[in-house]
């Protein structure tokens, strides 16, 4: 877990890439791939937990260790490891290689002088550059040739594909006032590989439940990229399915998944395990969803991501007034920082939340810093900075 095995990648991501890129990437994906970036006119980049990878036309690729500038000056020697994705590490020494952060420079292959012998590195012709056609084709495949069906997603800047992976879009925004109508001239696509880390919430789960079928209103506080949604998803699964170890029976859960991140639905089918008693309102506006769920689905708890916008407070108050619990998240580094935000501050001051879980990435994404009890703000759990992904690596 926490990784995508190559087989899954072949089925879930590769078919959505343009034919050319597909051929390049075939069988060359590392297991812990995090992102694939397609920027028109720029090199194709894959990122995994170790850093960025570039590709060349012979299909091999190498890592720059993020030290692109180090080899900029002619005559400066440096040793780079050209690692193949199949895990074989082929070392090669590259001397006097110019980079200049200009991908085109290495495209000619003329500036590359390996071992001073005049032969090119790996016999390459430089990096694979993403062409406009690649972006267009990839977009076509992602939207199943039906752009109209993804209007709302495009407006929000991303599309969720099967498997829960998300494709971010950048280009020229067509707007009307503050409202984004569409994105045209799409230049960049960022494919973020979704990670479901089952069991990452096991540790904190006992602190959030009350007896065998109730829980505390909980707010997960975390900076971006710290596993907030991953944690929320796993908590949802535990709440819904139940957890024998903690003697928790499982309760009815309604997930308002505004950004299709929690359950990552594809055609309505959740791509992540969110439990057996879970109803999902996929890509539903948060406020409308909370009210809808409340009326129609009789949940015990409503789960939603990233509160803090106008109107969220009222919706949450309505949920609580109906005797339904709430489990949600907010961007922030600590509770004191959260208080600076009006909507959240009011909720904190009214002691709406009974438990706060503070995350960080000190020990990797998903580090639980502390759990705070909401009545007197007393610390009830101090994390030992354990990385949730650690178990898998």
């Amino acid at each position: 877990m926490g990784t995508v095995d190559a087989g899954r990648f072949d089925v879930e991501i590769l078919p959505f890439l343009s034919e050319r890129i597909r051929t390049i990437l075939q069988n060359k994906i590392t297991v812990d791939v995090e992102e694939i970036r397609l920027r028109t006119g720029k090199p194709l980049i894959m990122q995994d937990s170790q850093g960025e990878w570039f590709f060349n036309s012979s299909g091999k690729f190498r890592r720059w260790d993020g030290k692109v500038n180090d080899c900029a000056g002619a005559g400066s020697d440096w040793t780079g490891k050209g690692r193949r994705l199949d895990g074989n590490v082929s070392d090669w020494v590259c001397k006097a290689r110019r980079w200049d952060s200009k991908a085109d420079d290495c495209a000619a292959g003329k500036a590359n002088n390996c071992d001073g012998t005049g032969s090119n590195c790996d016999g390459d012709e430089g990096c694979v550059i993403v062409e406009p056609m690649d972006v267009a084709q990839t977009l076509e495949l992602i939207t199943s040739n039906s752009v109209y069906a993804f209007q709302e997603e495009i407006r929000n800047g991303y599309i969720t594909i099967k498997g829960g992976h998300r494709v971010g879009i950048a280009g020229k925004i067509v707007s009307e006032g503050v409202y984004v109508k569409s994105i045209k001239d799409i230049m960049s696509l960022n494919i973020r590989v979704s990670k479901e880390v089952k069991g990452c919430a096991d540790k904190i789960f006992p602190y959030l439940i009350k007896g065998e079928n109730d829980l505390y209103n909980t707010l997960i506080v975390s900076p971006p990229q710290c596993g907030k949604t991953t944690m929320l998803r796993d908590l949802t699964r535990l709440l819904s399915t139940g957890c024998k170890v903690n003697g928790f029976r499982g309760i009815k859960v309604c997930v308002v998944d505004e950004r299709s991140e929690i359950a990552a639905c594809y055609k309505g089918v959740p791509q992540n395990d969110v439990g057996v008693r879970t109803d999902i309102l996929d890509s539903c506006p948060k406020i409308a969803g909370m009210i809808m769920g409340l009326r129609a689905l009789s949940p015990v708890v409503i789960v939603t991501d990233e509160i803090g916008n106008e109107g969220d407070k009222d919706a949450i108050t309505r949920v609580l007034n109906a005797g339904v619990k709430i489990l949600t998240t907010a961007h922030g580094y600590s509770i004191s920082e959260l208080k600076a935000r009006k909507e959240v501050m009011e909720l904190i001051e009214e002691k709406v939340f009974e438990r706060y879980v503070v995350l960080s990435s000190r020990g990797g994404p998903g580090t639980v810093e502390e759990i705070i009890e909401g009545e007197n703000f007393k610390n009830i759990y101090k994390g030992e900075f354990k990385n949730i992904y650690e178990g898998e690596k």
């Binding site: 199943s144 040739n145 039906s146 109209y148 209007q151």
Partner: protein, 173 residues
């Protein structure tokens, strides 16, 4: 003499058949245009209320009524899914070209279908809907014309077939 009689019967039968075939084209065309319109109405509904993706819509159409016309839609979905051509527009055009001869539609109708495909899937909802509306409008006009032609030419070709056959037979004798 017997050979002559047999021969003339054969000639008469075949020309009559030819005439009949030709008239069938006229007779069936309005029906097929109406079918097309029904299919496009379905596409319209699917897009405006459900925002389903093209392949889903086209497969649904093919499921709900199997006919020469709905074959165009299912074939398009097939081509898209096969992934050999890129773009729904290309897939649609290929499918229409392939299926054109199996239908009773004339050149004009086929042109309308092809021009519908050019915007298929590439614009937002409003764009798709207005494209469908335009196609429906054009098909409506074609239907009126087709009815007219059916009335005029339908019987004409059946009769012409018989007449031509009869003329040849008379010349033989």
């Amino acid at each position: 003499m017997l050979v002559k009689i047999l021969g003339s019967i054969l000639i008469l039968a075949s020309t009559t058949y030819m005439g009949y075939k030709k008239s069938l084209k006229y007779k069936r065309r309005p029906t097929q245009i109406r079918e097309l319109q029904a299919c496009f109405h379905m596409v319209e509904n699917e897009i405006s209320y459900l925002e389903s993706i093209i392949t889903d819509i086209f497969n649904k159409i093919a499921e709900s009524n199997k006919s020469i016309i709905s074959d165009i839609f299912s074939r398009t979905a097939e081509i898209i899914n096969a992934g050999n051509v890129t773009g729904a527009a290309k897939a649609w055009e290929t499918s229409v070209t392939e299926k054109a001869d199996t239908t009773c539609l004339n050149k004009e109708d086929i042109e309308i279908l092809k021009s519908f495909g050019k915007l298929l899937g590439t614009t937002d909802k409003e764009g798709q809907l207005s494209n469908i509306a335009l196609t429906l409008h054009q098909l409506k006009n074609q239907e009126v014309k087709a009815e007219e032609e059916k009335r005029k030419n339908g019987m004409l070709y059946t009769r012409l077939g018989i007449m031509a056959g009869a003329a040849v037979v008379i010349m033989i004798f």
